[in-house]
């Protein structure tokens, strides 16, 4: 007798299907992939100053945009689209098939990872050409960048799936999720220089992963001399790693234990 396909195999198939579906929704493709570029264009044009010797605001902002891109593309989009899939009965139908829940999660993770790669490539392209954003040259910086993107994307995916249990309906999901993400972006130093924020805001932001992702990205895109201007006078990449792993574990735990297939 033929064996039923493995969870990983089905996860990859689901990833391909998710990408295909995503690519056919033109509005969301443009919005999701180009939104950080549009923000960079706006902020880069408004704030022309340098914030430290040799560090333009655009350079500072690119770090924040990549970090918050991870949150928008993973957490925000999943926490909104999964309740919508649930509303129309798509998840219940999947639950009735032999496809395991892990394959569904793997499919989502693949979709998020692929959209992140495209988003970052666009941001780099526009940043380089129009805003003089400088790419890191040291291999160590690229190493940091890669683990930040991978871990950040996994963490954001897991938390997005976990948070999808909160909105009661697909229609209301956006109203629940979007304000959280926007507030988090302001608190975490995506739009402003983190050290200039009130300290209560900094402390609150330090609980959540976006602040750490943003700080980690600054360690990649800003010169090491800038580290002395951080709150802890260093990049704290080790701590960033631990906090992201912790949030990833929390996200996976709630995704696996509490995932809701059905409206009621």
């Amino acid at each position: 007798m033929n064996k039923i396909p493995s969870a990983l195999n089905l996860g990859i198939r689901r990833g391909a299907l998710e990408i295909r579906q995503f690519a056919r929704q033109r509005e969301s493709v443009v919005f999701t992939l180009l939104f950080p570029v549009i923000l960079l264009a706006i902020f880069g044009s408004v704030f022309k100053d340098t914030i430290a010797p040799g560090v333009t605001f655009s350079q500072y902002f690119v770090a924040g945009m990549i970090a918050s891109g991870l949150v928008n593309t993973g957490f925000q989009s999943l926490a909104i689209t999964i309740p919508m899939e649930r509303d129309v009965g798509g998840l219940k139908r999947l639950r009735g098939t032999p496809m395991p829940v892990s394959s569904y999660f793997i499919g989502k993770a693949i979709l998020i990872a692929v959209s992140m790669v495209i988003q970052i490539a666009l941001l780099f392209g526009f940043g380089l050409i129009f805003f003089g954003v400088q790419m890191p040259t040291a291999p160590a910086k690229w190493f940091t960048f890669i683990w930040l993107v991978l871990l950040g994307s996994a963490c954001s995916t897991a938390l997005g799936i976990a948070f999808s249990i909160v909105p009661k309906s697909g229609r209301g999901a956006s109203a629940v999720v979007s304000p959280i993400v926007i507030v988090l972006q302001f608190f975490s130093g995506v739009f402003f220089i983190f050290t200039q924020l009130p300290s209560w805001m900094q402390q609150l932001a330090a609980i959540f992963p976006l602040k750490w992702l943003t700080q980690g990205m600054r360690s990649v895109f800003l010169p090491d001399t800038f580290a002395s201007q951080e709150v802890a006078k260093s990049w704290e990449n080790g701590r960033t790693f631990l906090i992201l792993v912790l949030w990833l574990v929390i996200g996976v735990f709630f995704s696996v234990r509490k995932f809701k297939w059905d409206r009621d």
């Binding site: 064996k3 396909p5 579906q21 798509g90 639950r95 009735g96 098939t97 032999p98 496809m99």
Partner: protein
């Protein structure tokens, strides 16, 4: 061994006793219809059998398996069942073919995709996006996804709601074809004529209990109930309720010397019987 075996099934939601002790035995290859008004416990019972809901009490075996089991064994079990739910309007941006093909990858011994497309009559729509399908075509796709894994047991939840009469007829023909493959089918429906056309046996559920299980022809003593003979005599329609309709007709034939004007002989419809049954226990 029966495909579905249920003993003393109970389920409550808070103070509401949705299912109060249901017994069911469905042998292999049977088309079994579960009838009942909204809120009778029909959906709860079926969703417990489908593994979507937990139960409070009772024994349940579906293909020799307890639907509450989790893990890999549950995947092996789901590999052998097909579920057509009431409504699923997802994946609008995929084509019919892409969706059926993708779902076929979930199973160990899927049916041929082309064959399933033909069986549900969607071969000409295979390249169409799902969001451009009509309600009836979408329902056919739902059925296609339910049978793509060549299930031993198929759950059909109100499959023809919203169909026009022609679409219903062709849907019934599709179910008849599945009967030919030995698939056991548990059908829930609001339409009595559908149960009559398809089901080998029907169960009527009301207030969380099975009132009767029987063939559609015999339900509620239908086969032995009196027949109504009616005909026109001059300006009036006359009726006679009788256990021997043939002899009444013979008598009338003699009376009229041949053709009897506007003759009908009828027995209570399944719907008449059903309404009496659920009405009688509603108080």
């Amino acid at each position: 061994m029966n495909v579905i075996e249920v003993k003393g099934l109970k389920k409550s939601y808070g103070l509401v006793h949705a299912v109060r002790g249901v017994d069911l035995s469905i042998p292999q290859g049977e088309i079994f219809a579960l009838l009942g008004p909204n809120g009778a416990g029909k959906t709860t019972t079926v969703e417990i059998l489908e593994g979507f809901r937990s139960r409070d009490a009772g024994e349940v075996s579906v293909l020799g398996f307890d639907p509450q089991t989790k893990g890999h064994a549950a995947r092996e079990w789901r590999n052998r069942i097909g579920i057509v739910l009431q409504s699923a309007a997802d994946a609008g941006d995929l084509t019919v073919l892409e969706t059926i093909d993708h779902f076929s990858g979930y199973y160990s011994k899927p049916r041929n995709v082309e064959e399933v497309l033909n069986a549900v009559g969607l071969e000409e729509k295979s390249g169409a996006l799902i969001r451009n399908l009509s309600g009836g075509q979408r329902r056919r796709l739902d059925v296609a996804l339910g049978i793509i894994g060549s299930p031993d047991l198929l759950f059909l939840d109100e499959p023809t709601t919203g169909f026009d009469p022609e679409a219903r007829r062709s849907f019934w023909a599709l179910i008849e074809k599945l009967r030919g493959t030995g698939t056991t089918i548990l059908l829930t429906t609001h339409y009595l004529d559908e149960a009559e056309a398809l089901a080998d046996r029907v169960a009527v559920i009301n207030d969380g209990l099975i009132i009767e299980v029987s063939t559609p022809a015999e339900l509620g003593g239908r086969a032995t109930s009196k027949a109504i003979v009616s005909w026109r005599d001059g300006d009036t329609i006359k009726t006679e309720s009788t256990d021997n309709p043939t002899s009444v007709v013979t008598k009338l034939t003699t009376h009229f010397g041949g053709e009897i004007p506007e003759l009908t002989v009828s027995r209570p419809s399944l719907e008449d019987i059903y309404l009496t049954m659920i009405g009688g226990t509603h108080e």
